[in-house]
């Protein structure tokens, strides 16, 4: 089951780190980084049903 309630230990820090990670990259490089990041997080999550739920939610955020 996908966790949609607040779950990040340090939301502000993690968000700032995400933005900083992209610093100095071209748009193409940033897209490629995002793709790698998604794949790495997908593997961390692992469960196919949770991943599918996350993808549906990303496509349509109103469908909580």
């Amino acid at each position: 089951m996908l966790i949609t309630s607040p779950n990040m230990t340090k939301p502000d820090e993690s968000y700032a780190f995400l933005i900083a990670t992209h610093e100095g990259l071209s748009e193409t490089e940033s897209h490629a980084l995002n793709a790698r990041l998604i794949l790495i997080l997908m593997n961390h999550i692992g469960d196919a049903a949770v991943l599918a739920e996350a993808m549906r939610l990303a496509r349509d955020p109103s469908a909580v």
């Binding site: 897209h31 490629a32 793709a35 790698r36 998604i38 794949l39 790495i40 593997n43």
Partner: protein, 538 residues
């Protein structure tokens, strides 16, 4: 009067030269129980399987043997097991190249290696590479051997089917020969006439699916170079020959090279030897001597017929379904069609099973075709991403695969063909929860070493009742079928593959070596009921 019937392709082996049959002078069309159309690997295997099961079978081919060109190349373990049951695997293993190691490159960078590491305790290897004409020749050799032992198989070369008319109790055929046309009738007709199936066209049946806009150049090169026997696959190769390339070893010092050329190409120009040599030179590097053996350009589709049974006409192999080459699912899946169809048709022809049993050929093999189409479509989409965003993700996977093993599980240059399990088939009977999933009803039996021989060598003549750690009767008769008993002591492999958490096991096994039902005790009435179900009598 002589009719000119020029070959559409050159032959690698002339196997069954035209000879006039008495049928051609018959006053009325001669009726045969089963006619197979097409002398490719699937037609030959069908005739062989039916003939060995005692069903008189006539095979018609519009050529006189095996066509030139390596074409189908990778033959998977399940195919070899089926060929072994048919008496054809020995020479295939001797001639074929066995390989286990694969390497995956992106541009000029080796991302990783994989070893197929086949599970121990199986008679057959995971894969062999063998050119299609040799595969066909060895099947034909097995037909000759079966004929010598009395198997009722007849092959007629240069017999081209030009008309087909289905009737209630037979199918009428018009056949052209060098001596002119003649008529034949078949109680059952099996169309193994390939992806462009003239029979399918004559019957006006559809063949829907997805055409991939891409061209592949196959270059078979003969060289003595000291390359290892491995499968090398490149994404976006550094030698700039399209989106992907593949290097594979064949017998006789021949290497298969596949170049993905893209869609908008000039076919004639790409097939010029100088141009092919330029591509091969760039791939192999300077100073490698080789000869071009055979070259061909092909495009591919992933598609299938809605149904593989149309009354008394049954479609098998490429005539029924076609997939991309990634994952070796073409000829391998066709051989599984044969495996599934032959015993069912034999029981129907012999009057033991109702015709409805043939509907299970349709459902089980449509399931198999769907699985193959799904897998090969996914591989194709990974190798040739269709949108900028899918290319970005594909390259992200490749970027991670060099250092992160998890990403390698996503890299898809073709998932190697595994046999199909007929989950949910109407023929499946009882299951037992404590036993391993891999041998659930519908599964092909995994091999295991027995004292001095192999398990699969003991299965497949007819139905088998296998007892592990429990004695079963030597024979059991029910519903017109004689079930052969096989009582085995538990070995580590049998325990792991068949018993799992159960103390003992009883398996009812179909003639195609798939599990029909299983129990942890012997109950003759339950076995008879499962047998009735497995032959379509329920």
């Amino acid at each position: 009067m002589k009719h000119d019937m020029p070959d559409r392709y050159a032959l690698a082996f002339q196997l069954y030269p035209y000879a006039k049959s008495p049928d051609q002078a018959a006053a009325a069309p001669v009726r045969h129980p089963v006619i197979v159309v097409g002398g490719g690997p699937i037609g030959l295997a069908t005739a062989l399987d039916l003939g060995k099961r005692g069903v008189p079978v006539l095979l018609l081919d519009d050529h006189e043997g095996a066509g030139l060109g390596s074409r189908a190349l990778c033959f998977a373990k399940r195919t070899l097991e089926i060929c072994d049951r048919l008496g054809a695997a020995g020479p295939m293993l001797q001639k074929g190249v066995q390989w286990n190691l694969g390497k995956v490159f992106h541009d000029d960078r080796l991302l990783y290696e994989f070893n197929l590491l086949p599970e121990g305790g199986h008679a057959m290897p995971a894969f062999i590479n063998l050119q299609q004409p040799w595969f066909e020749k060895f099947l034909h050799d097995a037909i000759l051997a079966a004929q010598a032992e009395g198997a009722p198989i007849e092959i007629r070369g240069k017999n081209r089917v030009e008309g087909v008319t289905p009737a209630t109790d037979h199918v009428a055929l018009e056949v052209m020969t060098p001596d002119g046309p003649y008529a034949l009738e078949a109680e059952w007709l099996i169309a193994c006439d390939g992806a462009r199936s003239p029979l399918r066209g004559m019957l006006g049946l559809g063949f829907e699916g997805r055409v991939f806009e891409d061209n592949f150049l196959i270059a078979d090169v003969k060289m003595k170079a000291d390359f290892p026997t491995e499968r090398w696959f490149w994404f976006e190769p550094h030698f700039k020959s399209g989106d992907s390339a593949l290097l594979h070893k064949q017998p006789d010092d021949i290497w298969r090279i596949d170049f993905q050329l893209g869609w908008n190409i000039d076919r004639a120009k790409e097939l010029e030897p100088s141009r092919i040599r330029a591509r091969v030179d760039a791939m192999l590097g300077p100073g490698v001597e080789y000869e071009l053996d055979w070259c061909s350009i092909y495009t591919f589709q992933c598609r299938r017929m809605d149904r593989f049974r149309h009354g008394r006409v049954l479609f098998a192999g490429d005539s029924a379904h076609q997939v991309s080459p990634f994952g070796a699912r073409g000829a391998n899946s066709g051989v599984q069609d044969v495996d599934n169809l032959a015993w069912k048709l034999a029981l129907v022809v012999q009057g033991v099973a109702p015709e409805a049993l043939l509907d299970s050929y349709d459902t089980e093999r449509v399931h198999g075709a769907e699985e193959n189409i799904l897998n090969s479509t996914r591989a194709t989409d990974f190798i040739t991403p269709k949108t900028p965003v899918s290319k970005m993700f594909r390259n992200a996977v490749l970027a991670l695969a060099g250092t992160l093993p998890f990403a390698r599980t996503v890299v898809n240059s073709g998932r190697l063909s595994l046999p199909c399990t007929y989950d949910g088939s109407v023929l499946n009977g009882a299951d037992h929860a404590a036993m391993p999933a891999r041998t659930r009803p519908g599964s092909p039996c995994p091999d295991a070493p027995l004292d001095g021989c192999w398990l699969l060598a003991r299965l497949g003549r007819g139905f088998t009742l296998m007892g592990i750690g429990i004695g079963v009767p030597e024979t059991m008769a029910a519903h017109g079928v004689t079930v052969e008993g096989l009582s085995l002591d538990p070995t580590p492999e049998l325990v792991a593959r068949y018993l799992g958490g159960a103390e003992r096991g009883v398996y009812l096994i179909r003639p195609d070596q798939h599990v029909a039902a299983r129990w942890d005790h012997l109950d003759a009435a339950a076995v008879a009921a499962a047998l009735a179900r497995a032959i379509g009598k329920e």
